[in-house]
């Protein structure tokens, strides 16, 4: 009896609620949660004891497990918590004061104000509308927010897939650009980087560096009419600089371009008139009344003066005109200054530029290379060959003559010309006929009038220093000086209109230091004409 009473007294939960509660399951979950948490605590103890660093991935995994289980439990209980209410059984001194607060459903004052302000914010503008519309509007807002959140989640998921963040595996094989495309891009990249860092591909060749009529605004007042573009010719990026003696006096004022072209005066030009002759002949530009630079009468060893035909044709072109004027100005400088200027010319390693061929006339210069280099059969690019003929006297000693290049036919012609030239004569002009071409390049060697040293073609073609006669006791002009001259003359001629002629020869001649020689005066005279 008593047992039954006891049983009946024991309240039985409503069967339905009991089922809903599913007490067994909740008990299981609670137990597993308890176990997980205790496991984590143990792990932390172990870490603390052994002083190892925990592996965050493992710990995060465990945390996520705990989180999941807690969530499930709470979820379960929430479903059925409605029929239950809290009935404090054990009221004592400790919890007497706090119990009412915990049991109350009214919000704390601060929470209450916060709540009302948020509500006001939310319902702003909708206070006056009927409740139904308010509800609708709020619903619409909720939908929009939900849509935005979904979109964001989608993007996140997509990106996660693309970079394989979610998976523990490495990234999938990245889509490889096909080889051709990759090569093209690589090429473009190199172009771009070179352009930005070094300036490759951005240099305008000297002959195109005119100032166009319409300068942009920010440069309009920078340039005056006379200055023009002061520029290096192409390929100047690798210039080596020499020790320069400062000009003692500079009559050129601010005209820097003249400094660069000054060397050209010292080097002179060779002027070859076109000649249909197929064999090498010594063709004096007899039409010119000007005494030859290398005639026995003259003591200069500079090149022939250009023939009048050449001169006039040169005048027709703007840039050469300017340069000629400059040259003439230069010639008016005292010799010493010329010397100094010559010494200050740059040494350049760049390829030679094509000299303008003015109506079929050539100007050739022998350009020099650094150092004691042997003759090499190096080919220059067609159409851009500049020949400079330096001072005609050849030096002896440890300086090498350099023949940079000869084209095939020209070589033969030149060699033959050289061979036939008697060593003792003054050779005013040595023209090498290139039969294959309509316009014949000419090379002129300036020879000194009274020196046994000859600018013999064959000698020049050798790659050894040929010993000259003893008439040159003075030291030799340094390679650098000569090279400077060559370089500067290149600069002067760089402005000439380029010509499509396929001249490919160049020689380096070394000059002696007889610059105080009346050579220069001779040259000056000639150039002034």
């Amino acid at each position: 009896m008593e047992g039954e009473l006891v049983q009946q007294q024991q309240e039985r939960l409503n069967q339905a609620v009991q089922q809903q509660l599913n007490l067994e399951q909740v008990k299981m979950r609670a137990i597993s949660l308890f176990k997980a948490i205790s496991r984590i605590l143990e792990d932390f103890d172990a870490y603390a004891r052994t002083n190892t660093t925990p592996k965050w991935q493992d710990i995060l995994g465990q945390y996520s497990m705990v989180n999941l289980e807690l969530f499930n439990i709470v979820d379960d209980i929430k479903k059925v918590s409605k029929p239950f209410l809290v009935y404090p059984k054990n009221v004592n001194a400790d919890n007497a004061t706090i119990l009412p607060v915990m049991l109350s459903t009214k919000l704390l004052p601060e929470m209450e104000t916060e709540d009302t302000s948020k509500r006001d914010q939310l319902l702003q503008g909708m206070q006056n509308l009927p409740i139904a519309t308010q509800i609708d509007k709020l619903k619409a807002r909720l939908d929009m927010i939900a849509g935005a959140c979904e979109g964001a989640e989608k993007v996140l998921a997509d990106t996660r897939k693309a970079y394989c963040f979610g998976t523990r595996q490495g990234p999938a094989i990245a889509p490889a650009l096909d080889k051709g495309q990759a090569a093209k891009i690589q090429e473009q990249e190199n172009l771009l980087r070179a352009a930005v860092n070094v300036g490759e591909g951005l240099r305008i060749p000297g002959d195109q560096r005119h100032i166009t009529a319409s300068l942009p605004m920010h440069l309009a007042d920078v340039f005056t009419v006379n200055e023009g573009a002061q520029s290096f010719p192409e390929g100047s990026s690798n210039n080596a600089y020499m020790k320069n003696t400062p000009l003692s006096s500079n009559s050129m004022g601010g005209q820097n371009s003249l400094l660069q072209t000054s060397g050209s005066q010292l080097l002179g030009r060779s002027a070859a008139s076109p000649n249909v002759a197929t064999s090498a002949t010594f063709d004096n530009t007899a039409a010119s009344p000007i005494p030859y630079a290398n005639s026995p009468r003259s003591s200069t060893n500079m090149m022939n003066t250009p023939s009048p035909q050449q001169q006039t044709s040169q005048q027709q072109q703007q840039q050469p005109t300017v340069q000629q004027q400059q040259r003439q100005k230069m010639m008016q400088l005292p010799q010493q200054q010329q010397q100094l200027l010559a010494q200050q010319q740059q040494f350049r390693q760049s390829a030679m530029q094509g000299l303008g061929q003015l109506h079929g006339q050539h100007q050739m210069q022998f350009s020099q290379q650094i150092g004691h280099q042997q003759f090499q059969g190096r080919q220059l690019t067609s159409g851009h060959v500049q020949h400079g003929i330096g001072q005609s006297q050849l030096n002896q000693g440890n300086q090498m003559t350099r023949i940079s290049q000869f084209s095939g036919a020209a070589n033969n012609a030149l060699f033959s010309a050289a061979q036939t030239t008697p060593n003792t004569q003054m050779i005013p002009n040595i023209s090498a006929g290139i039969s294959s071409q309509s316009l014949l390049p000419r090379m002129q060697f300036g020879l000194s009038g009274n020196n046994p040293q000859r600018n013999h073609a064959s000698q020049m073609l050798n790659d050894q220093m040929f010993s000259m006669g003893g008439g040159n006791p003075g030291g030799m002009m340094s390679i650098q000086q000569q090279q400077q001259q060559q370089q500067s003359s290149q600069g002067a001629f760089g402005g000439m209109a380029s010509n499509a002629q396929n001249l490919q020869s160049g020689m380096m001649t070394l000059q002696n230091t007889q610059q105080n020689h009346p050579n220069f005066s001779q040259q000056r005279q000639q150039n002034q004409q």
Partner: protein, 217 residues
């Protein structure tokens, strides 16, 4: 001194890069149109070749000129370990007759180029400037209106930050950590080291450009 890295990006992804930079830097972009004139000194000016760059900012109503000299880069084992290039750089604002002055001194025009693009300047461990621009060349001297891109499909990205001898390591670290954020779109490297394009660039650009399917509030 400055720390500098360079990279390339295909022109089609530039807009995406702009969005990314906007998000990372938090500042507005500034348009860029700079005429850069590079001068080299003539033979009579000294022992060594020197080059000077004049930058004319054409974006302002009144063009402003800056002169910049870029010196040699830091070398050595330490420099190789740093992923940015540290080099000396001197910069100054100048008046508009600077070009005349340099010509009078004996400098000659070596090359010129026109940069058109945008830049972001912000502070993130160091004062960092990111410049994205297309590099244009002028076929005729000084004809900035007729400039054509050197490489139409590729633009240049430069990240620079001024530094001093004392703090260049921190600045270099700041720059390289910032560059990691740009990794999905482009790789940055020391000037002169080529990188190629990044294979994920297209996907990254697409995701940056998409609006995620959500509607605006």
């Amino acid at each position: 001194m400055e720390c500098v890295v360079q990279g390339i990006i295909e022109t089609q992804h530039v807009e995406a890069l702009e969005i990314l930079l906007q998000g990372l830097c938090g500042v507005q972009r500034e348009r860029l149109r700079i005429h850069e004139i590079c001068l080299k000194n003539g033979p009579n000016l000294g022992l060594v070749a020197s080059e000077v760059r004049l930058l004319c900012d054409l974006e302002q109503t009144e063009p402003s000129w800056t002169v910049r000299h870029i010196g040699g880069a830091m070398r050595g084992a330490g420099a190789e370990q740093i992923s940015v290039l540290v080099r000396t750089m001197v910069e100054s604002k100048v008046s508009k007759n600077v070009l005349r002055m340099f010509y009078t001194l004996g400098y000659k025009l070596d090359h010129e180029l026109l940069r058109v693009g945008f830049s972001f300047q912000f502070n993130r461990g160091a004062q960092i400037t990111v410049t994205v621009s297309s590099v244009n060349k002028m076929l005729k001297l000084h004809a900035t209106d007729e400039a054509v891109p050197v490489t139409p499909g590729i633009q240049m990205v430069e990240v620079t930050a001024p530094a001093s001898a004392e703090n260049y390591t921190e600045v270099a670290a700041a720059v390289s950590s910032f560059c990691e954020y740009l990794a999905p779109l482009l790789h940055l490297s020391k000037p002169g080291v080529s990188t190629g394009v990044v294979p994920t660039a297209a996907a990254a650009a697409a995701s940056l450009m998409s609006d995620g399917g959500g509607t605006t509030l």
